[in-house]
């Protein structure tokens, strides 16, 4: 290793970088193609061979925006934000209880939470439909808020628990000895350590809520439809509209794409459940 001449080594790295770039671009090529297609006319969207150069147009994006996209967007945002807030409201105390103040049955509770994630969501869709109908929640944003909260809560508790476990025990003990009560302890000692982890957890809840499809398609109609439901409306039975579909797919994904890009580091932290510090 040490015998490798510096020049040769630099060259090797350069080609690896080029290879990495090529692989990355190939990997996301379908996505780049979608973005390109979103700016095409329909006639340019399905050609053989596929067209790389064309006169770009904002017509498709305009059509999507004027085609009633905004109510879906606001529903999605509402459901995502409220359910994420609820996840934190329920999840933070639970994660605290399961990490810093564990009692008998901790592992059972953790096991229970995770096991609910493994349930096939289709298994309960009919009862959920009937229940939401009887409680007049069918086609309301609240049905989705409730379901997304319970969908994300288990994973969130697991994640946040691992962040709480990072709080050094000695710090808490030291605080106790200084006579700090629980709220003070939380505010002064625990929160600063776990806050980034909580933000990361929230981000992941946001992503999963925004992209959820199954509940949204089956439990909403006109009033509470979210962005994925809007997207499905663009598949028509009679006629393919690739450009319009791509435009809709792009707009539907954009908010979460941007949030995810900005908060990449949080994403890593959240997913690795605090194993990265």
């Amino acid at each position: 290793m040490t015998t490798v001449a510096p020049r040769k080594r630099a060259y090797g790295k350069g080609s690896l970088t080029v290879a990495t770039w090529i692989i990355a671009i190939l990997f996301v090529f379908p996505l780049l193609w979608m973005i390109l297609t979103a700016f095409k006319q329909e006639a340019d969207a399905y050609t053989d061979p596929p067209k790389l150069f064309f006169t770009p147009t904002f017509e498709q994006l305009g059509n999507v925006l004027s085609g009633g996209f905004l109510p879906y967007l606001s529903n999605s945002a509402f459901v995502t934000i409220i359910s994420t807030a609820l996840v934190l409201l329920f999840g933070v105390p639970a994660a605290y209880a399961l990490s810093l103040a564990p009692v008998k049955g901790t592992s059972n509770a953790l096991g229970f939470f995770l096991s609910t994630k493994m349930l096939p969501i289709v298994a309960a869709i009919i009862p959920l439909y009937v229940i939401s109908q009887n409680t007049e929640l069918l086609d309301t944003v609240w049905a989705l808020v409730i379901l997304y909260t319970s969908m994300n809560l288990p994973l969130a508790i697991w994640m946040m628990r691992s962040f709480f476990l990072e709080v050094p025990h000695e710090m808490i003990e030291a605080g106790r000895i200084d006579g700090a009560n629980l709220p003070t302890l939380l505010r002064k000692i625990i929160m600063p350590v776990v806050a980034p982890g909580i933000a990361a957890t929230a981000l992941i809840c946001v992503i999963f809520s925004w992209t959820e499809f199954f509940y949204a398609v089956n439990l909403t109609a006109a009033r509470a439809g979210t962005v994925p439901v809007f997207l499905v409306g663009f598949i028509t039975s009679e006629g393919l509209y690739w450009a319009q579909l791509s435009a809709a797919a792009l707009l539907a994904s954009l908010p979460v794409m941007i949030v995810g890009w900005i908060a990449q580091n949080h994403l890593v932290r959240g997913l690795s459940m605090g194993a990265v510090k």
Binding site: N108, P120, A123
Partner: protein, 310 residues
Amino acid sequence: MSTLSVSTPTSTSQAKVEEKRGLSTAAKRRLPLLPALIFVIAVTQLPFLLTVFYSFQSWNLVRPGSRHFVGLDNYIDVFSDTTFLVALLNTVLLTVVCVLVALLLGLGLAILLDRKFLGRGVVRTLLITPFLILPAAGALLWKTTVFDPTYGLLHFVFGTDTDWLSEFPLASVMAQIVWQWTPFMMLLILAGLQSQAKDVLEAANVDGAGRWRTFVFITLPHLSRFLQLATLLGAIYIVNSFDAIFLMTQGGPGTASTNLPYYIYQRAFEGFDVGQASAMGVIVVILTMIVATFALRLMFRTFSVSGGIK
């Protein structure tokens, strides 16, 4: 379904400690847990009880007045339904293959990204994006622009008229799912790689261990916990795959790409056979619980659940 009890030696000892402290403290300590617990039980377990109840009935939504109690008939029908078995096998195949392939690709990409190079941030941003777009959008995108036999990108690349979605339905669906989940795996593994103590790696380097040996004997063991986590989380989501099948192949041709979630959906929302769909749901839940027990044990070992305060 219900609580899975996975007890570990430490958790019992901890419990003993607790008993000494007295009940009231324990109850007080449990309090913050309750809202979440009650909420999740209410939202996930109650509907499931109804599913169990429906599964003993013959109930077709579009034939009013047909609803009556039939005991175990639905279960007998499900077990003699060959399509159910096909769907079960497809589910297993899809989950195992997708998780493994996504994991390997993710590992490869993570290794490529685990070094400094020009535009690293941009490449990482590009690579995570498939995980951030709507799965529904991803599925539609692949169905149209990638797999279309006449206007698709694969047609352009290979120059053949292969109809991917009907000749290789399950593989096509898997390709899409792998594409969607590889970034997730990559991010997790990258996190693992970056958390390696640099001095250990350097020490290995100084000791003259080759790159490969360093990778196998130092990096991989370090990564194992991340790989396990990635596998478990990936499997939880991929086993429930619905969007890709629903939007790309509708389970076809025939039942070639039907998995359990999609088949149950079909029985419920195309057949409107509430009884049979519910019975399938119950069976799937039972199967899942069996698999999950093992998965949970793994997770518990990995994340030292009973460790409490470290």
